[in-house]
């Protein structure tokens, strides 16, 4: 019996288990999934918790509900991966061998990487919203906040869901308006990037939104340290910004097990072929989702498009056939823009977000790089799609590869 090992039962690992379990020959292949945690978080929902739109129960379900019944599940921490020996060693010392392995160990935030960030101000007037704890603590703070200087700060790139910080300030503008205190809140968007986004057309478009909503952007600010006693963030080149409330996106890093196994770069992301998703160092290891070092967004939509390509390549590896170089960096992101409206962007490694209609060219119902109510509706419906279709590996009516149909070059 051969073993396909999946490390990580988050969005990407669960999708892969659900896609492969029905098709791999059960007499030949045992699928084993390893994940030490019980709870699956709908991470895109964290954004809505600080504003009371979702609560904790809206974004959690047991991971087990989504694992296929014929997959062996091991709930334990992995101590180390030994890729040269095709083995992993569990914390208990138990050794598990594999023939093929999919690494889907994700990424998480590390506030302790920045001097002064996780000290006296942490969860008092400094919050993240990329964890359930941070999102809930920020909710409790915002409920009673009477206004002041709010700074949204991205410590360094890359981060998961690079549009979430923008969505946060757009929603904050709306929420403070609803509370009747918008005139008492000064909002700054502080980013290490030269603009609101990485790609020029979208950066310009989204930059106009910040301006319209009276949110000041501070570009090219790389945070060196936080002085939580005096409520300041200080850049590496000694520029200072005062805050009363700091909403921070800390450094994002891959799993510690990758570091312990010596398989990652300086942020514990695994060198991965950008088109086949095969590990650059080991031919029987594949990497998906946030765990990769690909120059694509770290986002659920990317994991979803990668899963379609990886599914095919795992079957090819099983059959001993050459891999397909089919992944193009496709990402698709709804950007909640406040006041029940949203923006949608669709792009890949080579083509930046462009205006147009999606997914049906000329028809929609969604509009690319444009603010509409329908886009907001798409974002809110996505939670149902995620739990009921996406995680279960169902086919969605969107191709894995980006298409130019329906898009307008500028």
């Amino acid at each position: 019996m051969k073993r396909l090992l999946i490390l990580g039962g988050g969005t990407a690992g669960t999708m892969m288990a659900n896609k492969l379990a029905p098709v791999l020959e059960e007499n030949e292949w045992q699928i084993t999934l390893v994940d030490e945690y019980e709870t699956h978080y709908y991470q895109p929902g964290f954004l809505f918790i600080p504003f009371g739109i979702y609560n904790k129960n809206d974004v959690i379900k047991p991971k087990r509900d989504f694992y296929p019944s014929n997959v062996e599940v091991i709930m334990e921490q992995v101590e180390v991966i030994k890729p040269k020996e095709n083995q992993i060693v569990m914390k208990s010392g138990k050794v598990i061998g594999y023939d093929l392995m999919i690494i889907a160990t994700g990424s998480k935030v590390h506030p302790e990487e920045t001097e002064g960030l996780k000290e006296d101000g942490w969860y008092k007037n400094i919050f993240d919203f990329y964890t359930i704890e941070g999102a809930v603590a920020l909710r409790n703070f915002l409920k009673y906040w009477e206004g002041g200087k709010m700074v949204l700060n991205i410590i360094e790139m890359p981060i998961k869901c690079p549009v979430a910080p923008l969505e946060f300030v757009f929603l904050a503008d709306w929420w403070f308006t609803e509370q009747g205190i918008r005139d008492k809140v000064d909002i700054k968007y502080v980013t290490p990037l030269p603009g609101a986004f990485t790609k020029p057309i979208a950066a310009k478009f989204l930059g106009q939104f910040l301006e319209k909503k009276n949110i000041q952007i501070v570009p090219e600010f790389s945070t060196g340290r936080v002085d939580s006693e005096n409520n300041k963030i200080i850049s590496w080149d000694e520029r200072e910004i005062d805050y009363d409330l700091l909403v921070t996106i800390p450094t994002n890093m891959g799993s510690e097990v990758i570091a312990r196994s010596g398989m990652g770069d300086d942020l514990n992301f695994i060198p991965t072929d950008p088109h086949t998703l095969q590990s650059k160092d080991y031919e029987n290891i594949f990497v998906i989702g946030d765990a990769t070092d690909l120059p694509s967004s770290k986002a659920g939509s990317v994991a979803h498009f990668e899963a379609d390509v990886l599914y095919e390549n795992i079957l090819r590896a099983v059959d001993g056939r050459p891999l397909k170089s089919a992944f193009d960096g496709h990402a698709n992101c709804f950007i909640e823009s406040g006041f029940n409206k949203g923006i949608l962007i669709d792009f890949n490694y080579d083509v930046e977000p462009l205006p147009g209609k999606f997914p049906l060219p000329g028809v929609g119902p969604f509009s690319l790089l444009e603010e509409t109510r329908m886009n907001h509706w798409g974002k809110m419906t996505f939670r149902w799609v995620y739990w009921n279709l996406l995680l279960k590996g169902a086919e969605l009516p969107i191709e894995a590869q980006m298409t130019m149909a329906g898009k307008k070059r500028q």
Binding site: T198, G224, W236, D266, L267, S297
Partner: protein
């Protein structure tokens, strides 16, 4: 593709003046490249950074990030910002002839 002459040698550069082929680069081009972006003198500490970047690029095939320069090269981030103001990753790569570091999405 644009060209320019550095230390008496003609090399290909991109729209922003970054060398297209890192192999075209020689150490005597560095002071000229540095002047172009407002760094008048390359100190020993600058050279430590440039040489680490060249060596790491040759070994790994990737332009080292600021974090990698700290972890693997032992160069404090604060020093990098002081030596190469307003964007050390980009400026140091420019002087070291390594092409533009690709940002992340």
């Amino acid at each position: 593709m644009a060209e320019k002459t550095l230390a008496g040698k003609t090399v290909q550069v991109d729209d922003e003046g970054f060398l297209v082929n890192p192999d075209d680069w020689t150490e005597d081009m560095a002071p000229e490249l540095a002047k172009e972006i407002g760094i008048d003198e390359l100190t020993d500490k600058h050279w430590e950074v440039i040489r680490f970047m060249r060596k790491d690029f040759a070994e790994k095939g990737q332009i080292p990030s600021i974090r990698r320069m700290k972890n693997a090269g032992g160069i404090p981030t604060k020093d990098l910002y002081a030596m190469f103001p307003e964007g050390p990753a980009k400026k140091a790569a420019y002087i070291a002839g390594l092409g533009k570091p690709h940002g992340c999405v």
